[in-house]
C-alpha cells in the first residue's frame, strides 16, 4: 500500500522533509503516553510540575508501546517508500526527545541548527566518526504548537550537504555545525497534533525550538539507516538520490 503521492516525493526531494498528520491511532498514542508518563519526573495532572522537568531522553525506546509507534504504524512503511522497500534496517528504537516548558515567553525562531551524527563530548558519538543515516522521523505523541519547542528544519540544506560532501570530508563539520558553510534559508517550525510525523533527509539541518508553551514537547526521533550503509558510508554520488530507491 502506497502512502505517498508523486507530489509528496517531489516535495521531499526539493525540501528534504515531508510532514504527515494523524499517522498513529488513538490507542497507539495512549499506550505510548502511558509508558512516557511513568518515566517522567513530573506529575501528569499538574502542569506546574512540567516546567523545566526531565528527563529529556527517557530510556523507553525499546518498550513495545514505543517501538509500535514506529513499526506498527505507517511511519516505517513511509520511510521505506522513500528509501526503498526492504532497504532500511528495522532494529533502531525510537528515541524520545522531550522539551519541557520553560515558563518563559521570549520565544524566537532558532537561529542555528546542526547535522546529526556528529561527535560532541556528551552525545555518545565516538570522536572521529559520523553516524550517517538516510531518513529521520520525528513524530509527536502530543500536540506541539507554535513556540512549543517544535522540531525545526532548514529546507533544502540536504542538497547543499550532498554537494558539499562530494569535495569535503564527512568529518569537516565539528559537532555537525554547518550553518556557517551553508547558505541558510528561513527555517520551518514543524507543528501539529498527536500523530504528526516529519520525515527528514539524514543530512538536513535541524534543531528543536525553545518551548514557551504549556505542553511538554513529546517527540520521538528515529534515525533510519540503510542495511548496506557500511558500503556507502563515504559515497556521495553525482545523483544525490542514488541511495533512495523509492525516489530515484
Amino acid at each position: 500500500m502506497a502512502y505517498l503521492t508523486d507530489e509528496d516525493k517531489t516535495f521531499f526531494k526539493e525540501n528534504g522533509y515531508l510532514v504527515k498528520h494523524d499517522l498513529l491511532t488513538e490507542k497507539q498514542l495512549n499506550d505510548a503516553l502511558e509508558v512516557v508518563w511513568e518515566n517522567l519526573d513530573c506529575n501528569r495532572n499538574d502542569p506546574k510540575t512540567w516546567i523545566n522537568a526531565g528527563p529529556n531522553h527517557p530510556r523507553i525506546g525499546a518498550h513495545p508501546a514505543i517501538r509500535a509507534t514506529l513499526y506498527e504504524t505507517p511511519v516505517f512503511p513511509i520511510a521505506e517508500e522513500l528509501v526503498g522497500k526492504g532497504k532500511l534496517g528495522d532494529t533502531t528504537n525510537p528515541g524520545p526527545h522531550f522539551r519541557y516548558p520553560t515558563g518563559e515567553t521570549d520565544w524566537q525562531m532558532p537561529k542555528s541548527g546542526h547535522l546529526d551524527g556528529y561527535y560532541t563530548p556528551t552525545n555518545g558519538v565516538p570522536e572521529g566518526t559520523v553516524g550517517r543515516f538516510q531518513i529521520g522521523t520525528s513524530f509527536y505523541l502530543n500536540n506541539v504548537a507554535h513556540q512549543g519547542g517544535a522540531f525545526t528544519i532548514w529546507p533544502g540544506t540536504h542538497i547543499q550537504a550532498a554537494e558539499h560532501f562530494k569535495t569535503h570530508s564527512l568529518l569537516c563539520f565539528k559537532g555537525g555545525n554547518a550553518g556557517e558553510t551553508f547558505d541558510m534559508p528561513e527555517p520551518v517550525e514543524i507543528t501539529g497534533g498527536p500523530g504528526t510525523v516529519c520525515f527528514w533527509h539524514g543530512q538536513l539541518m535541524h534543531t528543536g525550538g525553545k518551548n514557551c508553551a504549556e505542553e511538554i514537547r513529546m517527540a520521538c526521533i528515529t534515525r533510519l539507516t540503510r542495511k548496506d550503509i557500511n558500503d556507502m558510508l563515504f559515497e556521495f554520488p553525482e545523483d544525490i538520490w542514488a541511495y533512495y530507491d523509492g525516489i530515484n
Partner: protein, 257 residues
C-alpha cells in the same frame, strides 16, 4: 615481495604532493596513515572518492592504511570504554574498505594488563564483525605491542585473520632482536615496515643496525610475498624523493641478490 612508499618521509605533505614524491621516487604503491601525516585520507577539503581519484590519476595503488589503535579507551576523556573505541576502529575499517583495501594496520594501547585484555577482545570482536578483512597488528616502542613477549601473549589468542606488522624501526628503538622476532612469527607476518636506525635515530638504509639481508632471507624462507613498506622518517640527509629512491634501490638490490 613488492615495495610501497610510506608518507613518513614527507609527513607535512598533503596527498597530492605526497603522490608526486611517491611517483618521483619510482613507486607505484603507497601506504597512508589515518592520523599523523597530512596525506591522511581524512582531510577537511577532501572526500574519499577524491582520494580514490587522486590515486588512480597518479597510477598509484594504495597498499595499506594505518588506522587508530585498539586502546580500549575513549580518546577524549581516557575513560575505559572498549565499545566506544571499537566504533572508531570500525569506522576506520569502513574508510579502508571505501579505499578498496581489505586490510588495515593498528596497534594497542598502554602497557597494562587491562590494555592487553582489551586489545585481544577488540581484535576478535572486530574481525568477527568484519568478514573478509584482516588486521595487521604493529609493534611500536612503548605500545602494548612492543616486542616479542607481547606478541607471544596476544597472537595465540586472536583470530587467525590478525597478522603481524613487523616494524623494524620500532623494534630497534625498543632494543628487540629483530631476527628472533621475525623467525618466531615468520608464518604470521602480514606486513613489514622497513626503517634503518642507529639506536633510535633513523639513518639511510644500510648505514644502521638493521640486518636487512638476514631479515629478507627469513621472510623469503617463510614464503612471505607481501609488501615491504619503505619507511623513512625524520630524514635529514636529503630530499624526500631522492632518499626514497635510494632506499628503494637498496632493497631492490637485496631482493635480487
Amino acid at each position: 615481495m613488492n615495495l610501497s612508499f610510506s608518507t613518513t618521509v614527507c609527513p607535512k605533505a598533503e596527498l597530492p604532493e605526497a603522490l608526486e614524491i611517491c611517483t618521483a621516487a619510482g613507486f607505484d604503491k603507497i601506504e597512508l596513515f589515518r592520523t599523523w601525516t597530512e596525506s591522511s585520507p581524512v582531510h577537511d577539503n577532501t572526500s574519499v572518492p577524491m582520494v580514490r581519484d587522486r590515486l588512480n590519476d597518479a597510477g598509484v595503488t594504495l597498499t595499506g592504511l594505518n588506522i587508530r589503535n585498539i586502546t580500549g579507551r575513549k580518546n577524549d576523556s581516557d575513560e575505559r570504554d572498549l565499545g566506544y573505541n571499537l566504533r572508531q576502529i570500525t569506522w576506520d575499517i569502513h574508510l579502508a574498505r571505501a579505499l578498496k583495501l581489505n586490510t588495515a594496520n593498528t596497534k594497542g594501547g598502554e602497557r597494562t594488563d587491562e590494555a592487553l585484555k582489551d586489545l585481544i577482545e577488540g581484535v576478535n570482536t572486530t574481525l568477527e564483525r568484519m568478514e573478509d578483512f584482516t588486521l595487521n597488528l604493529g609493534n611500536h616502542a612503548g605500545n602494548r605491542l612492543q616486542g616479542l613477549e607481547d606478541f607471544q601473549a596476544v597472537m595465540p589468542n586472536v583470530n587467525e585473520r590478525a597478522k603481524i606488522l613487523l616494524d623494524t624501526g620500532h623494534l630497534l628503538t625498543a632494543g628487540e632482536d629483530i631476527l628472533r622476532f621475525a623467525e618466531t612469527f615468520a608464518g604470521r607476518i602480514g606486513l613489514v615496515h622497513l626503517r634503518d636506525q642507529k639506536g633510535d635515530t633513523p639513518v639511510p638504509f644500510g648505514e644502521g643496525d638493521l640486518p636487512f639481508q638476514d631479515l629478507i632471507n627469513i621472510l623469503k624462507g617463510a614464503g612471505y610475498d607481501g609488501t615491504l613498506v619503505i619507511e623513512l622518517e625524520k630524514v635529514t640527509w636529503g630530499e624526500p624523493a631522492e632518499t626514497a629512491t635510494t632506499a628503494k634501490a637498496y632493497i631492490e638490490n637485496l631482493l635480487a641478490s
